[in-house]
Assembly symmetry: C2
Homo-oligomer: 478 residues x 2
């Protein structure tokens, strides 16, 4: 129980060791360049070499996923130093494990030959993951180097959108016939000698590769050897089609606790399988991309990317935000006359807008989640809207009254306090209505409600809050 | 390939059917109550009964996870109608599948006897999931109904915090000895007759239950029957301890693509196992709770909870937000004199604050993510801060200049434009520094940086933005 467990528990230690070795290495390199006394240099170079050898040994002992982790955590120059030390035959596996953004920095550092060598170590389904990041000429060379059936598989995998089952499936399928006994099946398996990772079941097909059922290994090992495969196999397996949405497949994996599942074409012909590790990676990536887009980042960002690259990633939402802030500013501008007369309005208005934004974001998060789970639809929209309006009304009356009293105490103006309470209640009601409607409308028009909902609701509660508060104040107080 | 696959593809259809049947049922119930002509009532009651039978049949055909899905999507009264129709012997499985919030509404609808009956159908590890939601007296009765070894297991599972491996592990372990041949091992398995779900490996232990290795089924079925278990087993399996953090275990499952893994105590004695389905549920729940806390919701909320319950869930963050908005308002209040003289300041100040908040949230999301992955630490803090400051400076100069020109065009005041540009740049720099520092400081003081970071940074860029802009304006323009 040694190697992997140790690397699990001490992943951060490994990272620290690599950094220490790298720093030593850089330090010595610096010394060697500065001092040109030959004797001294010789000693340094020896230490230097020992140092590099130690680092290389450390890296070789790590699981590809762990090397990937270390690469992600290093600034670009150190990252490339480590990358150069990784054994060439592990390049492919490590490229698969790093994030898209970091993968681009590593690929940019490799020449066509190195890339081709790395790619050639991979399975077809793994190649399909890597292909979009490869330079065109390398991809062309790669396609030519594959045999016909693998080339066809790669091209078909590349033809599916990223979020389809076809893009996630692999081709590591072990098939048997249904008209043999378990004894024959086991003899056949022993002849094969080893099974692909995650094999928890064999796929039972006929001579035309039509799927008839699945034989879980855990049934195979407990059943009578004289039984036929057809007696023991399960014929109610969950199957997927390559054009199915990956999110639906992920939900099915969670719901039915699957480890692997067959992928069949429209004629029920077995063409691949989905495995739980791919699905788990997909779930993780989806969750992260939701979180990033909520924060106004377009995509996953290499933590050590250049300022310029990072700015491109962040500009879209910043620009949107600028426009909405400008609109809110113009709403205020329309009431400059009122503010000039009662300057307290300027100080109080951000409270009305801010609380509306906070409350609207709470509502919208509930609804977006319900939509993602398929649990929000027209049949329950009315009861959801009622609930949110109820919460908004209560919160508005309670917190609005508190702030109304505070406004009265600060400025000694009863009417100002009343305007404050009324404006907060109205803005919270606006936030509730928009928090329910915006994601529903976005879904109706075929957009992902997780992207941009938060910016939209904040824009509405800002401009709306300023308008309601300043408008009421102008009507009542002037 | 029938039942489950159908229910996967038509989960939303099933939901619709249940709702239609429920509505019919309600409609007829209403009719029967209103009209008391005996003949008419008789007919109605017959239709009514048919209707209920159809609904019950539909529910019985669904997987427990799918019934749970339907329960989550129904408002409280309809939910309880459906819950009453579910066969009692499936109650336990379904209670395990629903979310915490919905589980509470279902449990509140059951008496002690029903709860005890439901709980008695579950395994010890499943009971541990359910136990925190059960009334005290039911839990007591339950503990008494268990045999000594299961009671001990349940009590030990309950003693671990929710986010420890001990709280996630189950006890469905199949063990063999290392000094037997594969043939003997297979004979033993055939005598057992069936293996627990997700069994992808057998655990190899000695007579004291010390773990010596694991025997993957996929090796068992391809290896020579005369080989010894000790020749074929893997002795480098990833093992966990019950006090390990569940997030670390989840990362190990992702990194090393595990399906099951042994859990051992400090003496290497095998006490349970972790399975990928539990880990996947855990990952999903973690991602959701991060998203909810980013939006200012304390915990998972039943979409159809009462207004009162929902308010409790949302008050904490609303109150925090109220305080920060009040502070920002007081900052503005301190500059009322300046605003009275140049009322344009009131219209422009929300832009400075808003862009700062947007940019700060982008930075903080990157850092929180890096911290969660263990990739941000003291060794790279400096280069991260440099990058974020670089982005802030560039964005400030570019967007700040744009808005400076806009302010000049709107109000015909060059100095006002210059103040606008300078204030935006300074507030973006503040956002960058705070976006890096806040999560690092929260981590240092042992707090989860995902909770509250966003509120804190917005508070700082709001108050800070108002202070910088109004302060500069007071210095330069007055």
């Amino acid at each position: 129980m040694a190697e992997i467990q140790e690397s699990k528990e001490s992943l951060q230690e490994s990272l620290q060791q690599v950094i220490t070795l790298l720093n030593k290495h850089k330090l010595i390199e610096g010394l060697v360049q500065k001092q040109d006394m030959p004797k001294q240099a010789l000693v340094e170079t020896l230490v230097h070499k020992q140092n590099l050898a130690e680092l290389q040994k450390k890296l070789d002992a790590l699981h590809p996923a762990d090397v990937a982790y270390i690469l992600e955590a290093l600034p670009l120059d150190q990252r490339l130093d480590v990358w150069d030390l990784v054994k060439a035959e592990r390049d492919g596996d490590i490229l698969l494990e790093v994030s898209d953004a970091v993968r681009q920095t590593l690929i940019a550092d490799m020449d066509s030959e190195e890339l081709l060598a790395a790619a050639e170590q991979l399975d077809t389904d793994e190649l399909a993951d890597l292909a979009p990041d490869l330079p065109k000429d390398v991809l062309q060379d790669l396609l030519e180097s594959l045999d016909a059936s693998n080339r066809e598989r790669l091209q078909s995998a590349l033809s599916y959108p990223e979020d389809a089952v076809g893009a996630l499936m692999d081709f590591d399928i072990v098939t048997i016939r249904e008209d043999i006994t378990l004894e024959v099946a086991l003899r056949y398996l022993r002849r094969i000698g080893s099974l692909p990772d995650h094999t928890d079941k064999l796929f039972v097909v006929d001579r035309h590769d039509m799927l008839h059922g699945v034989l879980p290994l855990k049934r195979l090992v407990v059943s009578d050897l004289d039984s036929g495969v057809d007696e023991i196999m399960a014929d109610d397996a969950v199957v997927f089609h390559p054009e199915d949405k990956a999110t639906d497949a992920a939900k099915a994996f969670e719901r039915y606790d699957l480890v692997t599942a067959p992928v069949v074409d429209e004629n029920n012909k077995l063409i691949g399988r989905l495995t739980v590790d791919t699905v788990m990676d997909f779930i993780r990536e989806e969750a992260e991309s939701d979180m990033l887009s909520l924060a106004g980042l377009r995509e996953d960002e290499d933590m050590f990317s250049s300022v310029w690259k990072a700015m491109q990633n962040r500009w879209t939402w910043l620009a949107v935000n600028l426009v909405t802030a400008f609109v809110a500013s113009r709403v205020i501008g329309a009431f400059e006359g009122s503010i000039e007369k009662i300057v307290a309005l300027a100080a109080l208005m951000p409270i009305v807008a801010g609380i509306g934004g906070n409350s609207g974001n709470q509502t919208i998060t509930m609804i977006v989640r319900g939509l993602a789970l398929g649990q929000v639809a027209s049949h329950n929209m009315k009861s959801l809207l009622q609930k949110e309006l109820g919460i908004a009304l209560l919160n508005g009356l309670i917190w609005g009254s508190v702030l109304g009293v505070v406004a009265y105490l600060l400025y000694g103006n009863v009417a100002l306090g009343v305007v404050m309470t009324a404006a907060m209640t109205l803005n919270l009601l606006l936030a509730a209505v928009m928090g329910v409607l915006i994601p529903l409308l976005m879904t109706k028009f075929g957009r992902d409600p997780a992207v941009g909902s938060s910016v939209l609701i904040t824009a509405m509660t800002d401009s709306g809050g300023f308008f309601i508060f300043l408008g009421l104040a102008t009507l009542v107080l002037l």
